[in-house]
Structures are given as C-alpha cells and as structure tokens.
Symmetry: C2
Subunit: 282 residues, 2 copies
C-alpha cells in the first residue's frame, strides 16, 4: 500500500443501534510523517475525510469521486487517533451530497473539531466528454531542470516531514524566495508526484492542491500561513504521470490572502481547481 | 426598508427547551420578486442565510460579517415560507464559525433541504490595513455607455423578476451574446447597484456574486445553469456607490463549469472574490 493510501486510510465502525440517518463513523490515525510546521497538512486531512465521504456516498448513491469539496479548518490537527463522522445529506441522480467532521480528543478526552466539510460526489468516469477549456497549462521547464525540494536546507526539512513523501520540482523562475529574492508576484509552480510512485487519482488531487509552499513565500513572507477555508473542484479523472501545479495569489488584504491552485495532468487536462483563504503570516 | 433587506429578512424563533447547542431557527419568506428561471436566485438565498448566521455569530462571538461562506445547493427554492437552522461550530478570537441549513416544506409537509452552508464570520471593521492587491480592476466604459438589462426583451424579463430589483449596466464588449454573437471568451462584466439605491454591504456582496447573467451566455449556451456550489470570500467592507463585477469561466468540462466573480468597489478595493460550480446547460 502506498504511503498516501496508508496516511489517508479510514476504518468504518460497525453501526450502533440508533436512527437510520445517524452519522457513520470512521477511525483514522494521523501519522506524523504528514506534518508541516505546527500540524498535519491540510490537504492530507482533506484527502482522508474525502476517502470516508467516498466510501459512504458510493454506498448510498453510486458516487465515489469528489466533484466539489469545501473544508472549514477549525483547529490544528495533531499526530494520533482521529474520527471522521459522515452524514449523507441527499442522494440524487448525478450527485450525492454529504457533510463530514474530523474530530480528535484533547488531553482531557474532550472531542475537538479539526475541520468540517461539505461535499458533492459524482462518478467522473461517466462525465460528459464535452471540454472547452480556455485556460492554458503553465509553461514549465522540463522536470530535470526544475528545483527539487529535497535540496531545501536540513533545518527546514526537519519541520516538514511531509516533503519526504513528495517529489516536487519547482520552476526555477518561481523559487527566487529560496535565495532571498522573492519575486513579489505571488506565484509558485512546478511538477508534482508522490515520492513512492503512487499514481494520481481524485483523492490525491485533494491532497495536491495544498502541497506546494505557500505563495506568501514569493511575497517575502515566511511564517506559518494557516488555511481557514479550502474548496476544491475535481474536474476530471487525472491521467497517470506527473502533475503540473500552479499556485498563485492576487489579493493579500485584511489579514487574509486567497491562494488559487490549478492542477494539470500529463494529458493536458485541467483536472482540479481550488481556492483557499489563509491567514497572512505575522 | 430596502427591497433587499425585506427580501433577506429573518425572524428568530424563541428558543425551545432543549440542549444548549441546539440549532437556532429563523423564519423567512421567499418572495417571488427574487425569482430567476425556475427558482429563487441563489445569491439572494445565500444573503438570507448569511443574515441569519450574522445575527447568531455576532451574538456568540462579536463577529457580524461574512469572511468566507460556502453554499451547497441541493434543490430549487420556491416562493413561500422557509426556515434557516443555524448551528454555532466554534467561536474564536478573530473568527466564529457556523453551519446553516435552508429548509422548505413540500406539498405533503415534509421538510426539504434547499441549501447547506458553512461559514467563517469576523469583524471587517477591525481588519488589518495592509493591502497588497496585484489584481487589477476591470476597465469598464462609463456607466452611461453600458447596456442596461432593463433593455432586455420583455419575454425574458417576464421570467426574471429579479432584474427589476437591480440596476445592472453591462460592458458592451461583453454583451455580444444578446445580439446573437457570443464572444466565446466566457466573460461578462459590468456596473451593479441595487435599484432602490440601497448601498452595498457584506450581505449585499453575497447576493451580487450571483446576480449577473451566467458566463455560459458568452459561450452561446442559453439554458438554465444551476449552481451546485458557491464559495464567497468577503475581503473588505465595500465603499458606497456602484460596484464593478467581473464574471468569467475558463473550464467547461465534464458537464460542469466554474464561474469566477470579482467585485470591486467605488474606492478600487477588491471587496469580494467568489467561485461557483454550475451545471452546463443541455
């Protein structure tokens, strides 16, 4: 089993006696290998919750893949046990909709919500084949001419276990910040794949939209940039191979910034679009 | 009271005996004056739910304004009574978070969910004043050189009561579709204000992000384009006066399209950013 599938594994609890519409509970273990800065990476959490939703919405509606997923981040997740509580809201012909909560327990055993999610799931293998994409894929140098994050300083890597699980090659034109020369444009882009070769799928896209360094680095702001909201639209099943990811911001204001992300697959399809709202580092 | 404030009014029900964390219920009346096509406009619904959330999250956390709001649309709303059930998820120092459901009853009296919402609320009057916006406001001709939607054919206006409540002046460069010549670019932009002169505020922005004609018109697709998901980030308190709204799409695929919206105020601030996922018309 791949590192990603292990890291996002969920185990469904047997149903307890109770109302038929009671939430279905899944158990999970948040592994410290997915830490970045002060907590577990937000995209990994989204993929884990997304897997629980996938199991449940496939069961009730035959809709296994995320089409739209919105996560509201409430507190930083820690390595250790976690629960996902999944509620089915509605099951229709083309979409099933659900809600989910990721819960951990504090030192006194009290439940603490980490994030809450709303989602529409569908069947991307049956999607309409009409494609009219006016967006253009990023012009990236070849993989071997890009900058591997494995080259980051050891003291940085020590607080970013996550990076060992990724093969991330950043466009040299957008890594000036690593040499003390941020461009100020607010754009970081590069090639992405999972380090163990696990091919992309919709759940991996939920992770990948939050896996690049924050665009604030390219604005010369290097503190922690916690996500408060993240919405992902999965627009197609990704083809195997490298993904190209573009991360950009255009409006830092009021203590927040938006981060837009596009993911293009090896077949030049725009497979995911996301936007998050994050807190500006102090 | 303005048409918009009437149309989004909510009346809180006295608390019933029950758990302290039970949802707070608000009653509302959906007025047919806000219809467009087959149902009540999605932005109006979002503003109405946003008003209920505002009352509750201001009460529990001193956070009256929407910062991030995500709505999952589940079924078409009809004119008539509706309820908003608001749950407080968390109240922190800078943000309070809540969930809300808009419910109507069918002919047999069964409750039907129209939309479900997650939201972070804050206090935009106390927001950090550092602004670094690299986005540029749209270059629009003066208001008087733009095309009023009041000039639309009467048979169209008959199914779009909503338009009587708006003063919408579209950029002539983006209304070729009205003359049988859609540009194919997927962009519609113009000036916006409420017809009765009610000035913009954050709740009005929740409405305004979904008030322009769908970008599919500019692709030559004229059917109904139901929203399935809409997330709005309110980035600043809007100044009084006309708003400029840009609506665009870059990826029609798999039976869905995204619609990005930017709203600029009269002081040249980017006051709201939104994206929705909508169904491609047949």
């Amino acid at each position: 089993m791949s590192e990603f599938d292990q890291g996002t594994a969920v185990v469904r609890r047997p149903a307890e006696d109770g109302p038929a519409d009671a939430p279905v509970v899944f158990d999970a273990e948040l592994d410290k290998g997915w830490q970045i800065g002060g907590g577990i990476n937000g995209g990994l959490l989204l993929a884990l919750v997304g897997r629980a939703l996938s199991e449940r919405l496939d069961e009730v509606g035959g809709h296994p893949q995320p089409v739209s997923v919105s996560a509201y981040y409430l507190s930083a997740s820690r390595p250790g046990p976690a629960e996902v509580h999944v509620e089915t809201i509605r099951s229709g012909r083309s979409l099933s909709s659900g809600s989910a909560v990721l819960v951990q327990h504090d030192d006194e055993g009290r439940p603490v919500e980490r994030l809450r999610v709303l989602a529409h799931y569908g069947d991307l293998a049956r999607a309409d084949e009409d494609v009219r994409t006016s967006a253009k894929p990023p012009a990236l140098p070849p993989v071997e001419q890009c900058v591997s994050t494995a080259a980051a300083p050891p003291e940085f890597l020590a607080s970013a276990n996550l990076l060992e699980r990724l093969d991330l090659r950043l466009d040299p034109a957008t890594v000036g910040w690593a040499l003390g020369k941020p461009s100020g444009e607010g754009r970081i882009q590069g090639w992405f794949r999972l380090a163990d070769g696990r091919e992309p799928d919709p759940l991996a896209l939920l992770f990948a939209v939050d896996a690049l360094p924050p665009t604030t680095f390219d604005l010369g702001l290097f503190g922690w940039t916690p996500t408060v909201e993240l919405t992902v639209h999965v627009r197609a099943l990704p083809a195997p191979g490298w993904l190209r990811i573009v991360h950009s911001t255009r409006n830092l204001a009021g203590g927040f910034l938006e981060e837009d992300c596009e993911i293009w697959d090896s077949a030049d399809r725009l497979v995911a679009q996301s936007r998050q709202l994050a807190v500006v580092p102090r």
